[in-house]
Symmetry: C2
Subunit: 200 residues, 2 copies
Amino acid sequence: MIDYTPPLARLIAELKKIPGIGRKSAQRIAYFLLRTDKKNALALAESIVQARETIFHCSVCNNITAVDPCEICSSLDRDDASICVVEEPFNIHSIEKTGLFHGHYHVLLGTLSPIRGIGPDELRIAGLLQRIRAGRYREVILATSPTTEGSATAHYLTEILREYKITISRIALGLPVGSDLDYADEMTIAKAIEGRLEVK
Amino acid sequence: MIDYTPPLARLIAELKKIPGIGRKSAQRIAYFLLRTDKKNALALAESIVQARETIFHCSVCNNITAVDPCEICSSLDRDDASICVVEEPFNIHSIEKTGLFHGHYHVLLGTLSPIRGIGPDELRIAGLLQRIRAGRYREVILATSPTTEGSATAHYLTEILREYKITISRIALGLPVGSDLDYADEMTIAKAIEGRLEVK
């Protein structure tokens, strides 16, 4: 059997390092990159290099950014009264897309996970406390995921934030919009009932 | 809403140009490329550039290669008696993996498709005829896909190859190994019955 020509074998090997991209997908992407306009392929390579050369974590909120402080931290249009705590930088984009939250963010860069050896000191919690002490925030919204680790992190933060004069809230758990009650798990239904809102 | 920082927005936009990669996947891959070792990310960029700078089509068989003629065309270990006709360069890899075929290949770089305006002149058929005339091939195996277009291409080639003193064969159509007869379509079952082989 004669294998791929070496530069192609190398490209496929590099693509396979991306989680979720297996052998077949790597091969398909590699062939696309060989067949598409050379300009397109080189633009992708160049954008990877550019992203790695210019993007870093915001020194205030830990969001990923190419300017410090990041666009959100340095914006004059944001609401100084609330700060939303998320696990990862991409969570910010998901919340921004709702158009409902106009305050500031703080990225923990992870969740508590005793199994993986991640304790409070491994997360960006000190910076959060410092911002809450220094700022005029009236509410902190804990928007970590409702996973075991995300919930544990929210619980931990709730405990240490109690000593601050600030409203602590947790994003609502319940049925996703458009979902069928029949297919929801019991934990989700229980949370949806516990968190029910009075219809006025 | 504050959007991605520009170098990240650009990287996501470039990734989305890859067929099969939507907004969510592009975002996931971009974040991976930002979080993985910088060495990994740059190696991917570099392998894309290298592949585009060094890979071209073999002047003999149209396979993709970094040397001309390609590794298969220039190999002394291949069987000079048979030539296998495929649609695309990556089909060669699929056949090589079986370890069953040791002859030469010829890549058409497409299939006949009147709808997309692809006629015989758009495919590398002249080169195939030239090789058959010049070579000592005793058999040509038509290994285009059993799609409408691949089959039409095989039919067309069969007609024009009839004038050459060469055995023309078509890869077998039938049930895929491990599949269930219950789930096979009628055309496939019909082909499997037509193509039945006597058990000896």
